[in-house]
């Protein structure tokens, strides 16, 4: 296990370095005038000159990239001021380093992603199990139609409808907002409830479909038949035998979904005016704040890569046949 984790972590570092190199190249080598793009919409010649001086844009690209990477580990001194490690760059629009802003926004994204993940995993897998248990009946058919519909819904439509109905219309839910859980857990919960539910509505369709098809497949397997033939109860066969075989692919997509949600659910955050990492990315595009975007890109890629490793490690725990060689 330890060897596996070390090997995979090294692989992840390679991937992250490659992603950072590509992103850096696309952001700072491809545009004719990266200083102009880093400067923001309201840019004057003075700040343009300042950026040119600070980013060292006259140096060769590999040197610039090297300085950026060293900055992440060791911190960096810009002429405008010191940037503590981990230094992901300096946002000239906000006039402060990128990292503290991302750290500031992250709890919102974390709350959104984790809360929604709990709901869509529990409800999605639950519905899938019921559909597989009662396969062929009207319940099964109803659930598969619902999951087709759920898959086809868009947050920017359903989210706004829910805001109009439940918040403005019926006033049975609070206007979505982020309140730190450390200050007031009840407000944190009520403020995030609607975004969680809407996000789950869209995600859980995939899980219920996947759970159902995996379980149905497993129920036809030899080991399940043997378990039945031994006279085990239907419940034991279902949960101890079929379910254990069905769980692995679900964990895979769950890891991928959680990773990408932690990188910022942009449309959801935007719809519910939550100021998370995704919203930060969108705002940075609008203000053309390249250093900030670069930071968000890297952190989000890291979230995805880390969760892929976690999932692979979990695989071995769930399915002993998988060898971590």
């Amino acid at each position: 296990m330890l060897r596996f984790l070390i090997r995979r972590s090294l692989g992840a570092v390679v991937i992250l370095v490659l992603i950072s190199a590509i992103t850096f190249f696309l952001f700072f080598a491809l545009p004719a005038d990266p200083a102009r793009l880093a400067c923001g919409k309201n840019c004057d010649p003075a700040s343009l000159a300042l950026i040119n001086e600070n980013l060292g844009l006259d140096k060769p690209i590999p040197v610039q990239y090297g300085e950026f990477m060293v900055g992440i580990v060791a911190g960096r001194d810009f002429p405008v001021g010191h940037c503590d490690a981990p230094c992901f760059g300096y946002s000239f629009v906000n006039q402060e380093p990128v990292w503290p802003t991302i750290v500031d926004r992250f709890p919102t994204t974390l709350s959104l992603a984790l809360g929604a993940a709990v709901v869509f995993l529990a409800v999605g897998v639950g519905l899938g199990m019921i559909a597989a248990w009662r396969r062929g009946t009207w319940i099964d058919k109803l659930f598969s139609s619902l999951s087709l519909l759920g898959q086809s819904l868009q947050v920017y439509f359903v989210g706004v409808l829910c805001l109009a109905w439940f918040v403005s219309g019926l006033s049975i839910m609070e206007q979505p907002a982020y309140h730190p859980i450390t200050e007031n857990p009840a407000r944190w919960f009520s403020g995030m409830l609607l975004p969680w539910l809407v996000l789950s509505l869209i995600f859980m369709a995939n899980y219920s479909r996947m759970t159902r098809s995996q379980l149905v497949e497993q129920l036809h397997e030899d080991h399940v038949r043997t378990a039945r033939a031994k006279g085990l109860s239907g419940r034991t066969v279902f949960f101890r035998y079929a379910w254990r075989g069905a769980i692995a692919p679900i964990v895979t997509i769950f890891g991928m979904d959680l990773g990408s949600l932690l990188g910022g659910a942009m449309i959801t955050e935007y719809t519910f005016t939550l100021h998370g990492v995704g919203r930060l990315a969108v705002d940075s595009v609008r203000l053309t704040d390249l250093p900030m975007l670069m930071g968000v890109m890297l952190i989000s890629s890291a979230a995805i890569v880390v969760f892929t490793i976690v999932v692979d490690a979990l695989y071995a725990v769930i399915d002993p046949r998988v060898r971590l060689a």
Partner: protein, 318 residues
Amino acid sequence: MVAGELVGRSPRQLMWRRFRRDRAGVVAALVVLFFFAVALLAPVISWLYGKDAYTTYGLDRPELLDPVSGYPMKPNGGIDGEFWFGIEPKLGRDVLMQLVYGIRTSLLIGLAATVLSTITGIVIGVAAGYLGGRTDYFLGRLIDLLLSFPQQLFFVAFMPVVTALFVSPEKETPTYLRVTALVLVLWLLGWMQLARLLRGQVLSLREREFIEAARVTGASPWRIIRRELLPNLGTPILVQSTLMLPMFVTAEAGLSFLGVGVVEPTPDWGRMFAKGAEFYEGDITYMFFPGVAMVVFVVAFNLLGDSVRDAMDPKTTR
């Protein structure tokens, strides 16, 4: 013809017969065709309906909009015999025309991205699978790398970079450049799934006897790919591109919703949601038609994808 006589049918005829029997699939295909017809015939619809997507009817005729709030005077977003889907709050443009031309913009972008991604996916997937060895290794790593990019974020983040390739950030970006940039960004991260799928298929096909036979008879690699491999890849290509199109259309709409895609005054499906989110407290009707149209569109495409797969490959079960 005598009853029970055996009739020879080509695989394509068999597929068509199976597809025609699938009622859900046929309905889905008709709905999909309807959307394409709407997009294609938008100018005709505009001419028949007597309105366009740009004229601000509400501003020209003050009796249509409430002078204080800017919302339509009539209930339900101003739906009546003249404005079938109502009028837009504030500017007072016709919602039906906005939607018809919006579908046209979004479908055009989605279709262009689908065609480009499908071609790229075929070229890279077949190259990796057929050539094998080092080519396969590097293409495989490239696909892995691109798949670990955060996709949505990539779409959003590279819009300004791609637009900056064509036009200086100080200047206004013309609409056709925005559309080109959208297509490019969607294409760059859209082809990997298909390529990976085709690579696997080619890998197993390559070892089959008929390919070996072709090779023994001296067929060139190009001929083998074109005449022996590609006809056997029709099903995954068709199914994947049927699923790709709604993915691109919703992604494009998402970008325009976030304000980094198509912007005013060009009509766009996603931009209507951005407007709808602005107006929802006063006029939810504005959002209703584009939203329902989008759901119907995506459901139809998903059903169509399933039916095409069932018809082409009857062995697999859903």
